[in-house]
């Protein structure tokens, strides 16, 4: 299923000599070989990914024009083209919106992912999981725009006419769940969180499944041999053993939900304001950047503000991804988009 080189194969390989040097056999030992710039040529392509990252960061930094928006950049007011007064660019709404959608989605995706991974590793026989596991993988392959059109036209009205009214009716006493009645169209936070959960689910499930499968068979058997149930063995032996992988799943799943763009732009009912209650719309950094670039075209200050927001989004994504990838030395899954 996944192409995993054995660790030995990956760990200790001698790098090849640069191709411009003759094969080792025919070379007399020349310690004084002079450095030739041509020797560097084969190394250059290897720099592609690092160069791309650096280029992205540099370009965004340059695009900000080093505009200093001061403290108001972290403030709540986003007025790019006000009818009166000067424009204000505060991104607090979007930072809040990004976390407000990504964190609940992540918690759900972790809980469900953990459940699916445990079912798949501890409870279900192989012939059943062989049939069920691909569904989770497939969830990762669906393009976000397809999630978006499905979410906007089918899932959102379902939330708007069935789920949100029920929650509104019975839980309106809970702060944040009362107030303005939910829209019948249903676009808003709940749908966005629901679909973000689906989009983060394959990442969390696969990484948790991998870390549970990596628990040595000996340890599983030791737990079961002591008269622990499958559940107890999973909880007390396998999960502690695979904890780093599980935490890593949390970080990478969060990264996925946090950076999701098009689907959120379609189903969140994007407005640059804090949500007034559970059912309302708001905006995220990614969705705002995506929908506003067009309006900002040609407007230097607006573009500068968007670039700075892009840098904030990128910085958070990078940190989350670095931490998530550092936790696990070797990923077995490569065939899944976004992982």
């Amino acid at each position: 299923m996944s192409a995993t080189p054995t660790p030995e194969a990956v760990e200790s390989r001698e790098p090849l000599p640069p191709p411009s040097s003759p094969p080792a056999e025919t070379t007399p030992p020349r310690r004084t070989s002079r450095f030739r710039p041509a020797q560097l040529i084969p190394f250059i392509p290897a720099l592609v990914p690092a160069a791309l990252i650096v280029a992205v960061i540099a370009e965004l930094v340059v695009s900000t024009g080093f505009t200093n928006f001061g403290l108001s950049f972290w403030g709540p007011d986003w007025l790019p083209s006000p009818s009166v007064g000067t424009p204000t660019f505060g991104i607090l709404v979007f930072i809040t919106g990004s976390f407000l959608t990504a964190i609940p989605a992540l918690l759900l995706a972790m809980a469900i992912g953990l459940g699916i991974a445990i079912a798949s590793t501890s409870y279900l026989p192989r012939w059943i999981t062989r049939f069920l596991d691909p569904f989770v993988d497939l969830l990762a392959g669906i393009p976000s725009i397809v999630y978006g059109i499905w979410g906007y036209l089918l899932v959102a009205p379902f939330f708007g006419t069935v789920i949100n009214p029920v929650i509104y009716r019975y839980f309106s006493f809970v702060p944040g769940f009362g107030g303005k009645a939910p829209l019948a169209e249903g676009v808003g936070l709940p749908v966005a969180i629901f679909i973000l959960t689906l989009m983060a689910l394959p990442i969390t499930t696969l990484l948790i499944r991998d870390s549970l499968r990596a628990v040595p068979r000996d340890l599983w058997e030791a737990g079961l041999g002591l008269g622990a149930t499958r559940w107890e063995t999973t909880r007390k032996v396998a999960i502690p053993y695979g904890l780093r992988g599980i935490v890593s799943a949390g970080f990478l799943g969060f990264g996925r939900a946090f950076g999701e763009t098009v689907m959120v732009a379609m189903v969140l009912n994007v407005v640059p304001a804090f949500p007034i209650n559970f059912y309302s719309g708001t905006s995220t950094m990614a969705a705002e950047m995506f929908t506003q670039l067009d309006s900002a075209h040609g407007n230097g200050q607006f573009l500068a503000a968007l670039s700075e927001m892009a840098l904030v989004l990128l910085a958070i994504s990078l940190v989350v991804n670095i931490v998530g990838r550092r936790l696990v030395s070797h990923f077995a899954v490569y065939e899944v988009p976004g992982l």
Partner: protein
């Protein structure tokens, strides 16, 4: 021998009856019957591939964790067939403990390893501490670890880890302890200590030891069962089997013409 009525004193504590285990390709065990009386250590010996590991794993239903095996026959534990559909394998494994070839300590402290099985049934901490101490004493590890029960179990030597595994199995107070080549990963000195532990334990427990080492069987066992390609070739008191085997195959194995 009628194992169904043999609960209480006298009869065997554990008894395999007409046990046949098959994989898709071949029979691993063929109609094997064997009794394990109280306060005894039975060594199951045989060349590699003879089915002895499958056999010992079938005595507490660990064998069911290997997919694709069909199991027929019964294993009677104090009058109750452990393969009866109404019996939960979890309960079987609490009564019939197991120690594996390689030490399989959990990556936590010595104390938590020994307390693993006890914690599951939620006993209060004093009971757990008392049982852990008792179990560690029985396994002969107490003197070495009593000053620092909170050290990581993985910092122990291989032999100590294996005795910790024995203590861990003993802590839940089983009647029967299955030992699947417990010294195969240990050096001679550590092996000696584990063997000493087994000698002591057989006073109070039914021990079943799988080993490929005839010398070990001679040193610790009361009874030897010789298996060859899924069949029980012969069984009897250790001295009889090792010194005066009746079967040619046994003779060959003891004199080292196998493996």
């Amino acid at each position: 021998m009628n194992a169904l009525t043999s609960s209480g004193n006298g009869g065997p504590v554990l008894s395999a009856q007409h046990l046949t285990i098959q994989s898709k390709q071949k029979k691993i065990l063929d109609d094997l019957s064997l009794d394990f009386p109280a306060a005894s250590l039975t060594a199951v010996v045989g060349p590699s591939g003879c089915g002895k590991t499958t056999f010992i794993r079938s005595l507490n239903r660990m064998v069911e964790l290997t997919p694709g095996l069909s199991i027929r026959g019964s294993v009677i534990y104090l009058g109750q067939d452990i393969y009866d559909p109404s019996v939960n394998p979890v309960m079987v494994r609490r009564r019939i403990g197991m120690v594996f070839q390689r030490p399989t300590v959990f990556p936590t402290t010595v104390f938590e390893n020994a307390a693993f099985g006890l914690r599951l049934v939620h006993e209060d901490i004093e009971t757990i501490e008392k049982s852990v101490e008792e179990a560690l004493q029985r396994s002969g590890l107490w003197e070495e670890v009593k000053d620092d029960l909170d050290r990581p179990a993985l910092s122990l030597s291989g032999g100590q880890q294996q005795r910790l595994c024995i203590a861990r199995a003993l802590a839940i107070k089983p009647r029967v302890l299955l030992l699947d080549e417990p010294t195969s990963a240990l050096d001679p000195a550590a092996t000696q200590r584990v063997e000493a532990t087994m000698q002591r334990l057989k006073e109070d427990f039914v021990l079943v030891l799988v080993t490929h080492n005839v010398g070990q069987a001679a040193r610790v066992s009361d009874k030897v069962a010789f298996l060859h390609s899924g069949h029980l070739i012969e069984v009897g008191p250790t001295a009889d089997i090792l010194e005066r085997p009746r079967e040619a195959l046994t003779q060959q194995f003891i004199t080292g013409r196998f493996q």
